[in-house]
Subunit: 216 residues, 2 copies
């Protein structure tokens, strides 16, 4: 059965998935880009940028596996862009340029209706105003039998964890201390519960902890 | 110059240094003993218990190094025992039996005066009611030029971090999710600041992240 997965979510050792003060110029918050240093070194990242190089090995392997078998992606609107409240002039189409790296349906959770946006390379952003359950239903329909990824940010992942809807949770722990920012494991009311560690491996850049729950 | 060190503090991937509901029967909180599974497998633990066996290797090495060069230890009273409020009948002498594994001066932070307690093997518990700075001063005096360890629990470590007094912070991340409990990185008002990762290594049981700040 297809599953709901969270993969390669970076957190600092003190638990932050983003630094403080997220904005247009600091989409990951102040200092937050350091969470992703390990990512920027990988071959997968270079391929996403259309450049050669980057490291293969364990970290790259985790990225490849994190995308494998994913048929649709869900994200919060703050991961989609810096706009808060009504959409306004409507020209924002994500952080990722004309050809986002998703190449598949992406469902954006928002309180404000928005027409779908078709990007180059197959990514279609669909905006869902009816909440996380409807978004998940639509994502499973679009995924054609494959898994659905909850891409982020932290509050979106928290909503799905709180609802007990996540089957796999894979956290990448970066060896930094941010001091403040947005926690991944917060507002969870005792969740996540019932997860077992399926894999725990480290490189000098990051430690990967992959937890799984019962198959769906 | 001697330093203030925190070593081998176990936290879960979701950031808890103890489970919920700490008590006489659950000194580490419900489920909290799982934080220390990696520790119970080591040769050092077996030696502390006076038994043979246990694994050598990286995790054991971290324990050995964490104790190396330590001349005195500071802990909170909740780490010393389950008694809250006044000391009462006065017979409690710690969780560790007649010969605690410290073999050196241990300073216990408390609001309630208590006579020192001398244990077998050289451990002397001294109770400090004048706060963290006085405790640190006394510990440095007692350490004879060696480093001082802040042993725990979480709130004691937080007090020293908040005061900017910690020079080395070594966290052992266990591959579990506790869901609730006492966070290590909490109530820190932006601290820890200025720490660099000096070492980041993992075993299948635990990932060690050691951060250091300027020499004292």
């Amino acid at each position: 059965m297809p599953r709901v997965r969270v993969n390669n979510i970076s957190i600092s050792v003190d638990g932050y998935a983003a630094g403080p003060g997220q904005s247009l110029h600091n989409p990951l918050g102040v200092g937050g880009e350091r969470l992703h240093d390990w990512f920027f070194h990988t071959r997968s990242w270079h391929q996403m940028q259309g450049t050669d190089g980057g490291d293969e090995g364990q970290d790259d392997d985790m990225i490849v596996r994190g995308n494998l078998g994913i048929g649709a992606t869900i994200m919060g609107r703050n991961m989609f862009g810096p706009i808060r409240g009504p959409w306004g002039d409507d020209r924002w189409s994500g952080w990722w340029g004309e050809e986002p790296p998703y190449h598949q349906p992406v469902f954006v959770l928002t309180n404000y209706p928005h027409e779908p946006i078709s990007m180059q390379g197959g990514t279609v952003f669909t905006f869902v105003t009816e909440g996380i359950h409807v978004a998940l239903e639509q994502a499973f329909d679009a995924a054609g039998g494959q898994d659905v990824k909850i891409a982020g940010g932290a509050s979106t992942i928290q909503q799905y964890l709180r609802a007990g809807l996540v089957d796999e949770l894979h956290v990448a722990i970066a060896p930094i201390l941010l001091g403040s920012g947005e926690r991944l494991f917060d507002n969870l009311a005792g969740e996540p519960e019932g997860f077992q560690c399926a894999e725990f491996v480290g490189s000098p850049s990051v430690a990967h902890a992959r937890f799984t729950r019962r198959a769906r």
